[in-house]
Every structure is written in structure tokens, then in C-alpha cells.
Amino acid sequence: MNFNVDERGYYGEFGGAYIPEMMYSDIKELKDNYIKILDDEKFKDEFHSLLKHYVGRPSPLFFASRLSSYHGTKIFLKREDLNHTGAHKINNTIGQILIAKSLGKSRIIAETGAGQHGVATATVCALMGMKCIVFMGQTDIERQSPNVLRMKMLGAEVIAVTSGNKTLKDATNEAIRDWIGNPVDTYYIIGSVVGPHPYPDLVTRLQSVISEEMKLQVREVSGKENPDYIIACVGGGSNAIGSFYHYLTNEHVKLIAVEAGGKGIKSGETAATMVMGRPGIIHGSRTMLMQTDDGQITEPYSISAGLDYPGIGPIHSYLHKLKRVIFDNVTDDEALEAAFRLTRLEGIVPALESAHALAWLGKHRFNKEDVVVVTISGRGDKDMDTYIKYMEKGIFNL
């Protein structure tokens, strides 16, 4: 089975590039060049050198013995939270800034929801001396102010987006609009495996370093050739596909993608796209999409700002359809409880997003000898306000 994008930019029926003519030349330029650049020895050297010396890769695969005892299985944590800037997002921005440079672009734009991708973009722009503009919904700016200040300190201009619901999807629209208006000097660093072809494939390839490292580490740390499970959270789906990529063709490895259930599927306040969505078009890509009967894109809800995207990467829609990846969801409360548990048992404060992957551990009965890898996509520093609020309420004061 082949899970790669086809030459027309599709994963089965999903993907493609549904873009206005005004974006055509930029997308074509990227499409015609990205594989060439990624395969270029000079690019590879620079990319891997930066990942090693600047980001701090490989990220460890840590055997979580106390969490393992709690869940009655063997749990290994892929520590993307230990990367520079605190999440997996930088794997992608390092790669894309090198592509932007190679295409001769001087101005970088990005969208951000929780601010992690914005910070990762502002960081590589500072590193490379490039102009950086980050679009962020007004609502997100208000609830993620430390990341906003961090981007500004890094020299980025943060533009408040006041259209629509003033969150991630609107920030993405605004980044697209900016790109339409600046087609010559600007490169758009998209933050997940979403958007028009070739972005989903490009970001997949850049994030696949996660599972590339896992292949060596699982052998080394667990003694088994392959893990039995890999669990990752999914919003747009970049850490999930990065964690799954090198195991997609190995059917013995069960791949679990955990969506944000929000207040529960039945409440309607959820970001579980695979449950609530049906095929549609968002940000230039045909994929599963939360929408009204009339085809208007709806605003998802999750306690985690990094998971509340109404669509999902087209490769995930395809993997879902083929049943190669199991998609499930956990609620805000389940995620919070899992975050507190990991903190107390292992001394690791995970991002709220990653806590969704951890919460799935409690929803499944594993065998004692199973090797279960959970990707900790980011650290919880940015979520301290939320955690403190729940701690003070005493709800999760374990």
C-alpha cells in the first residue's frame, strides 16, 4: 500500500490545490521545486545539522516506568517537548525557512493558533535574518499572550486577525490573503499538514524525522523491533503524521490519532473532525471538514488551542478512510487528568495538545508486554494558566 501523495497532489480523493488564480504562480513554484530542494545534498546537510545542533535532536525516547505501572503496559515517550522552542513545530519551520531561502524569498508569513508555530517561525526568521509576519486571531492573542510577547521579542510582527471567529482558521485565511497580495518576495510557512498541495506532503516529509528517529530508538530502548502502538494527538495532524510516517507500511504497528473531543461529541462543542465532519474544502484542500449543511465552515471547540482546527490534513482523511490509522477522541477533562498524571508520575508537564494522546492510554486495555509509544508533541509551559486554574479548583489536585 502506498500512502504517499500522487503526482496530482491527492491522497485518494483527498488533498489537491483548490486555490484562486492569484496564488497559482507561488504554489506552482513551490510544487516544481520542493522535492528537488529536499533531495539536494546541501539542503540535507544544513537541515540535519540545524536539527542536531540548534533544535537538539534526536529527541529522546524515554521509558516512563511509573506511568507504565499505572497503565499496566510499557510506555515510551517521544520527547518532542524537549526541542528548542518547546514543540515539534520547529522541525517544519527549519525545513521551510531553508526552502524559502533557496527560492530567493525575503519575507516570511505564517499563521498561528496557540502561538507555537508562530514562535517556531519567528525563531527561524531571527536565526536566518528574515522578515517575519505572523497572523494570529484576536481571540487567540488574548488567551496566549506569553507566546505573542515571545514572537515580538524574536522580532516578528504579530498581526491581530479580527475577521470571522478570530481564531486559527481566520488567521490562516489572512495569511493566504497576504500571500495573494505579495506573490513575489513572500514565502508562506504553513504550520501543519494542511493547505493546498504540496504543503501537506512537504510538512509530512519534514516532520517524518520523528518516526525516523523512533525506528532506531525503539530497538535500542525497548528491545523490540517495532512498537505495538504509536499514539499522537491530532489537530491539523503534523506531529501525528511525523510519528506514524515510517510505520505506515508496517501493519503490525497500531497507529492511534487522538482528536480533541472538547466537552464531548454530543455537546456539539468539540474539535473531533473525523466524527463531526464530512468531505469539504478548507484552505485549498479537500479533506474531512466540520461544516453546516449549507457548507459553511464551523468553529470547533477544544480546551487546547492547538487542536481546534475545523479541518484535518488530507493524508489523515485518507488514512482514516483506509482504516490504517484509528481515530478516536478524548474530552477536555480526560486530557487535563492525563496531564496532571504525567506531571506527578514522571515530572513532565505536557502541552494540553499532547495530553490528549496521553489520555487515550486510559481508554484502552493494553497487554503487559506491549510497547506503546506516545508522542509528547510539546511542553506545557504555555498552558500553565489553564493548569493552575484547574489546580486551584482542586479538581485535578491528585
Binding site: 483548490y18 486555490i19 488564480e21 504562480s25 475577521s163 470571522g164 495573494i180 484552505h283 449549507d294 464551523t298
Partner: protein, 258 residues
Amino acid sequence: MNRIDKLFRQKTGNILSVYFTAGYPKLDSTVGIIKALENAGADMIEIGIPFSDPMADGPVIQRSNERALKNGMTLNLLFDQLNNIRDEVKIPLLLMGYLNPVIQFGVENFCLKCSETGIDGIIIPDLPPLIYSEQYFSVFNHYDLYNILLVSPQSSDERIFAIDKISRGFIYIVSSSSITGTKDKFTDTQISYFRRIQEMNLKNPGLIGFGISNRETFVVAGQYSRGGIIGSAFVKVIGQEGNLNENVSQFISNLKEK
């Protein structure tokens, strides 16, 4: 004969096409605005289907889309509103919107409803020419609906010729690398791009749109193409206080005034 062809046959220059968002400023404004536009002398009308995520539109049209959706506008309702429009309105009518609502409505069903309503053409900015010609051309053609395609300053000559080849009715010449919105005048770069297209002698006539806001820009559009398309500037007008018919009539006559 499709009314768009008829218009371009009868009128050689200074064709004025006007865009507005259906369901804005009020849910039931649609039909009144169409009639007011025809009475005021517009040559063609582009009726916008509101969408939650209009990625090629500037702030004015974005807000009109948001308002129209809040008012309760849907594609079904729009077809209901337009049900008897051909009893009175004779000029070409187009629907303009994004692909997702059309796909969710069902493309075949959408074309059928357009044909029954008397719609002459469609503009869907996020439906690329290749996907259109491979997947939708035959159904559009079956209902004699013209899919109007866009060209932009970044489009190569080769691509513009390819777009011309699969176009019917007219070509929408996007005036600058930008989203919709008003600008006071055209730059030299824009003028040389208009000239480039003019000298290509395309088989379809062209209309210049995006950034046309006043008589000056409309006149320039008419010099380098068969006319101009006005969107944001008109949406501002219908959002104003006062008598709608008078506002519309004054705006159009200011544009066309000799």
C-alpha cells in the same frame, strides 16, 4: 443565446458589472438590489453567495459575507429569492462564490437550479481551471452555464491562452496581485499588464476587476478591456443609511457620467 454573449455582442465598451453579497445588508435585500442596479444602468450583476471563509476577499466583502450569514442567508434561500427574477430583470446574472457551498449543494443540482432561475454564469475563484475542465465542464456546459475564469498579473502568457481556450462568456482580469478591495488608481505596472493581455488578442472579451472604485479607475478599465467590475465600493454603498434605490442610482450614474 446566453445573455452574457448577447451583452458583449450588443455593447462594445464600458460594460459595467457589479458585485454584491446576497442577503446583505438585510436578508431580503437581494431582489431589490438587483432591480435597482438594472434600473440604474448596470450591464451585468454578480450575486455573491456568502461564505464563512472568503479567502480571496478584502475586509469590505468579508464583513458583508459575515453579516449575510448572520442574517440567515443560504444557497437554498437565494434560489428561492431569485425564483421569479426573470419576470422582470433582463440583464445577465451571475453567481459568485466559493467552491465548498456549491459542492455541498451538489454541483449538478446547483447547475440545474441556476438554469431554472435564469442564471447565466458562475464565478468560483477557488475552482482552478484544470479541475473545472476535467470534472465540471460537461455539467456546466449541459446547462449552458458559463464558468468565468480569472487571470492575474502572475499568470504567464501561456497560461492565459490556456484559460482563454476553456473560457466562455468573458475573462475576469484581476487587476493586481491582491484580494478584493478598493484602490484609487492603477499603477504603471498594472497598466502594462492590461496592455499585455490586450495585445494577446484573446478569443474571449475581458473585464477588469479588483480595485475599481470610482469613475477614474472604471474609465481606465474600459480603455484596456471591455469594461470593469465593481465589488467592494458598491457593497459599501448598499451598507449605507438612506434610500437604497437612490444610493444605488447615484453611485452608478457617478461612475458612468460622461
